[in-house]
């Protein structure tokens, strides 16, 4: 029987090489490869594109030989490197990533337990990166790429990620509200927190419910 998109999986990796997160992600990719009837795609974004060159590439290349497809965000790559990534890594785009997700690829998330029900309509993106982190702007691009496909999106800012909602950092996120591109939420922490843009507070239970009933959860 021919594999359908429901048999395929995709994983987003933004962690830089040699980090614990990257090691976990590679383990998850291997598990997905063993258990998946269809295609398994790993999409590298942010600092994760550094996996596509140098010493970090070797272990992925070995997994690719076993059938893993390795795609690299072209914009994130070009911000950090010249030329092309090493084969078999290929340049791709955030829109293509979202297109795969929207057409039924199972999201493999190596950072969160709540992975969505696959039955819901909304995609949840959990932002935990502080605005001061080097590639935090690229998380906004990830969300905008999903919005460009008119996917229903909910963004939950959590922990240090709540800093994205304050002051100058909130400027880029505001477009999601102003143009009805995504719903914004935050979970916190300090009782006196006041977001600089319209965002709704969620307690832990509400956030869990949103994730559990989502079509999928992405934790960039």
């Amino acid at each position: 029987m021919q594999a359908t998109n429901d048999d395929n999986s995709i994983m987003l990796i933004r962690a830089e090489p040699q980090s614990v997160e990257a090691e976990n992600a590679q383990h998850e990719a291997l598990v997905a490869l063993r258990g998946c009837k269809g295609e398994v795609v790993v999409f590298f974004h942010g600092a994760g594109v550094d996996h596509a060159c140098g010493a970090a590439a070797g272990s992925w290349q070995r997994l690719a030989a076993r059938g893993l497809r390795l795609e690299v965000c072209s914009a994130a790559w070009q911000r950090r490197h010249e030329g092309e990534p090493e084969a078999p890594f290929v340049l791709s785009s955030l829109v293509r990533f979202w297109h795969r997700v929207a057409t039924g690829y199972r999201l493999v998330c190596h950072r969160e337990a709540g992975r969505g029900s696959r039955q819901g309509a909304t995609w949840v993106i959990i932002v935990t990166a502080a605005p001061s982190e080097a590639d935090s702007r690229e998380i906004l691009e990830l969300v905008l790429a999903g919005a460009s496909l008119e996917l229903p999106l909910a963004v939950i800012f959590r922990d240090r990620g709540c800093g994205q909602l304050v002051g100058e950092f909130a400027r880029g996120w505001r477009q999601l509200v102003d143009f009805d591109l995504a719903s914004l939420y935050y979970t916190l922490c300090a009782e006196d927190f006041e977001p600089g843009i319209p965002a709704s507070p969620l307690d832990r239970e509400q956030a869990g419910h949103l994730c559990n009933t989502a079509r999928g959860v992405i934790c960039p």
């Binding site: 906004l140 477009q175 143009f179």
Partner: protein
């Protein structure tokens, strides 16, 4: 400031451009510069072109990035009481938002959206 590889003559001024034709220094932008840049590509800027350029410039300055195409199309529909992305591609066939950035003196969009 980006590395200059071309020079655009606008009256007495020499404006530095990147290899892609974008302004190296956004402060060099003026309507005269936009008109000259567009003319190099055979485009005579009319009222709708200017609306699009101004919309993209305002969005960029408000949010720090150019608008999504869907946002641009929605604003266009509101302005024209209808219309579609095809109208925008007729204005700027090589990409409405990208070309509006080019003639609007904004940096080349460096994202893959």
């Amino acid at each position: 400031m980006s590395m200059a590889t071309q020079t655009l003559r606008v009256g007495e001024r020499a404006i530095e451009l990147t290899s892609d034709g974008f302004l190296c220094n956004p402060d060099d932008w003026s309507q005269e510069v936009a008109t000259t840049l567009a003319a190099r590509n055979g485009i005579s800027l009319g009222e709708d072109h200017w609306w699009l350029i101004e919309f993209v410039r305002q969005h960029y300055h408000a949010y720090g990035n150019p608008p999504l195409m869907r946002v641009t199309v929605a604003a266009w529909r509101e302005r024209r009481d209808g219309g579609s992305s095809r109208d925008l591609y007729q204005l700027f066939p090589e990409g409405p938002v990208r070309q509006a950035c080019l003639y609007g003196g904004l940096p080349k969009p460096d994202w893959c959206i």
